[in-house]
Symmetry: C2
Subunit: 324 residues, 2 copies
C-alpha cells in the first residue's frame, strides 16, 4: 500500500492530481488523503478529506503523525497576494511550511531515524529574477524578485538540507505558470494568462493588463498533475544536491496566445480580449522568466505540451463546459 498525502488537496492542481491518481495509481492499493482549508462542493474527490490549515501547528502534527509514504506539498499563498500582504504570505508560505518540516523532523527522530518520507514540493519559476539569459538552463541560480519567489527559494533550500540530513527524501518542482486554469480568476499576478483564454471561450470579455509582447512559460493543469504523478517514479537524488528541477513548458508571447485562441475559436471570441493596462501586474510580470531549457527534467521523463494551441485544446477537453 502507498499512503499518499496531498497538502493543498482542495486547490485546483491538488484536485487534478487526486483525479489523475484515481486513473493512474502509485500502487495496487493507494490510500489518498487530501488536506486543505476548504474543499470544492462540486465534484466528488477521490480520497479522504481532512480540513485544516498548515499555519495550525497542532493540526499539522496530528496529520503528520500518520507517517505518510509520500507527501505532496502544494498549499501556498499565490504570488500577487504574497506581494500585497507581507504577513499573510510569510505566515503561510514560510511559517506553515516550517510547521510541516519541523514536524517531519520530529517524526524522523521519534521513529529512531527510520521514518523518511518522500516529499514533492510545488516550487515555481518565480525563484528566478532578472537579468535573464535568452533561455534559462538548469544551472541558472535562483535570485527571487518577489516575496512569493523568496518564499519558494527558501523552501527549496530547507528541503535540500532536510534531504541531505536524511530526514526526508525531497524534491522541488519549479512549475511553469499553469494555464488555462478553470474557474474564477485568482489573486496570482499570472491570473490573466488564463483569463484571456477562459473568459472569451465562455463568451465573456477578458481584461489584458500587459502588452502583447510579454513572453512567458506555461503548462496546462493536466501537465501539472502529470508532473506530480511522474515525480513519484523517479529517483530524487538525480535532481542534484539542490533537489530542484525546472520543468518543461511552452514559451510564447501574449500575442501568440491570442493568435492561438483565434485559430481555434475564431475572430469573434478573440475580440473579447480588451486591453486594460495594470502597472502593478506589468511590473511583476516583466520580472518573470521568458523561456527555459529544462534538459534535466526532460531527461528524467517530464513532459508538457508542445504548443500553446495544445494548451488551449487541453482546456477544452478537460474543463470547458460550453455555455448553455
Amino acid at each position: 500500500m502507498t499512503d499518499i498525502l496531498i497538502i493543498g488537496g482542495g486547490g485546483m492542481v491538488g484536485q487534478k492530481f487526486a483525479h489523475s491518481l484515481a486513473s493512474a495509481p502509485l500502487s495496487e492499493d493507494d490510500r489518498v488523503t487530501l488536506f486543505d482549508r476548504s474543499f470544492p462542493d462540486a465534484a466528488p474527490l477521490p480520497g479522504e478529506r481532512v480540513l485544516g490549515d498548515i499555519t495550525d501547528r497542532t493540526a499539522v502534527s496530528a496529520l503528520l503523525a500518520r507517517r505518510f509514504d509520500i507527501i505532496y506539498l502544494l498549499a501556498s499563498v499565490v504570488s500577487g497576494e504574497a506581494e500585497r500582504d507581507f504577513r499573510k504570505g510569510y505566515e503561510i508560505n514560510l511559517g506553515g511550511f516550517w510547521h510541516i518540516m519541523s514536524r517531519l523532523e520530529a517524526e524522523h527522530e521519534d521513529s529512531g531515524n527510520t521514518y523518511r518520507p518522500r516529499l514533492v514540493f510545488t516550487s515555481s519559476i518565480a525563484v528566478f529574477g532578472p537579468p535573464y539569459p535568452e533561455r534559462i538552463d538548469d544551472d541558472f541560480p535562483p535570485a527571487p524578485a518577489t516575496s512569493y519567489g523568496t518564499q519558494k527559494a527558501v523552501s527549496e533550500l530547507l528541503i535540500a538540507d532536510l534531504s541531505r540530513r536524511g530526514i526526508i527524501d525531497g524534491l522541488s518542482l519549479r512549475l511553469p505558470t499553469i494555464c488555462v486554469r478553470p474557474g474564477a480568476a485568482n489573486l496570482a499576478a499570472s491570473s490573466f494568462f488564463s483569463g484571456i483564454i477562459r473568459e472569451p471561450l465562455n463568451g465573456q470579455e477578458a481584461p489584458l493588463p500587459v502588452p502583447e509582447d510579454i513572453r512567458h512559460w506555461h503548462a496546462s493543469p493536466r501537465s501539472a498533475a502529470g508532473f506530480l504523478r511522474h515525480a513519484a517514479g523517479i529517483d530524487f537524488e538525480r535532481a542534484g544536491h539542490r533537489r530542484a528541477l525546472n520543468l518543461p513548458g511552452v514559451s510564447c508571447t501574449v500575442g501568440e496566445q491570442i493568435a492561438a485562441l483565434r485559430d481555434i475559436a475564431g475572430n469573434e471570441i478573440a475580440a473579447l480580449i480588451r486591453p486594460a493596462p495594470d502597472q502593478t501586474i506589468y511590473r511583476i510580470v516583466t520580472g518573470w522568466p521568458r523561456d527555459f531549457d529544462p534538459q534535466l527534467a526532460r531527461s528524467l521523463g517530464f513532459r508538457a505540451e508542445a504548443t500553446f494551441h495544445d494548451i488551449i485544446r487541453v482546456y477544452l477537453e478537460d474543463d470547458f463546459a460550453a455555455p448553455v
Copy 2:
C-alpha cells in the same frame, strides 16, 4: 546621534566591534546597545548591555521598539553545533532571525512606513557548496552543504526581500573564517584553524584534525570588526539585488599556516601541533571554499590582511598575553 544595536554583542566579534566603535565612532554622538544571552565578565565593554535571547519573541519586540538607526545582527549558533543539533540550529539561526525580521516589519508598519533601519548581517562563506571553481567570484551562486550554511543562505534571501520591500536597508557580509580567535575553542568546525596558532603560542599542544593540504579563507578578528565598521559608511544598494558581499581574506593551506607560525615563533612552538585526524571535521571542512576573488567588496573599500603572517601578528598585538 546614531543609535546602534549589536545583537550578539557579547560574542567575540561583537566585543571587538564595540571596542572599535569606541575608537572610531559612526557619529559625534553614538549610542551603542549590546544585546546577548551573556556577557564576558572581564573587559568593560563600551555601550549599554541588554540581556536577552533572540528566540524570546517578547524580548526581541521590547528591544526593537527602540527603533535603532543601525542594527548589527551577529548572533548565531556556530557551524559545528548547527550540524550536530538540528533543532537548536534552526530555532536560533532561523526562528530567532525571523523574530527580528517580523518585528522590524511591524515597526515599519506602525511607523506609517517611515522607519527603515539599516541592518548588517554576518553571513558566512558557508553559503557556498562544492563543486567550486579555483577562485570563487562575486557571481558564484550559494548552494549550501551544511545546515549552518543553509540557515545563512535563507537569511540572506529574507534580508534581500525585506530590503526590496523597503522594510529595512539590509546588507549581508559573508565573513571569511575568523582566525586567530582569542580565548577557548568553540563548537565551530573551523575552531582548529585558530587553535593550531593560539594554543602553541600559549605553550600548549594543539590537535590538528585535518591534513596540511587543506586550503581555506581567513581574516583576523580585527578585520571582522573593520568590515562591520566599514559597512556603516557604504551604500548597501551597491551590493546588488542579493544584498550580499563576499569579503576579502587570505587563502592559505594549513601547512602554510604552520610555516607562518614557525617563521614568527620558532620550531619549538610549531612542534606543539599534533595530528589528530577527525573524520567529521574533515568531511565538513573539505566542503568549504578555498579561495575567493572578492572584487566588489574590494572596490567598496573592504580590506583584510595580505598574508597569514599578518594574521598571526594581529593576534599577537591584539589578544596575546604572554604566559607568565
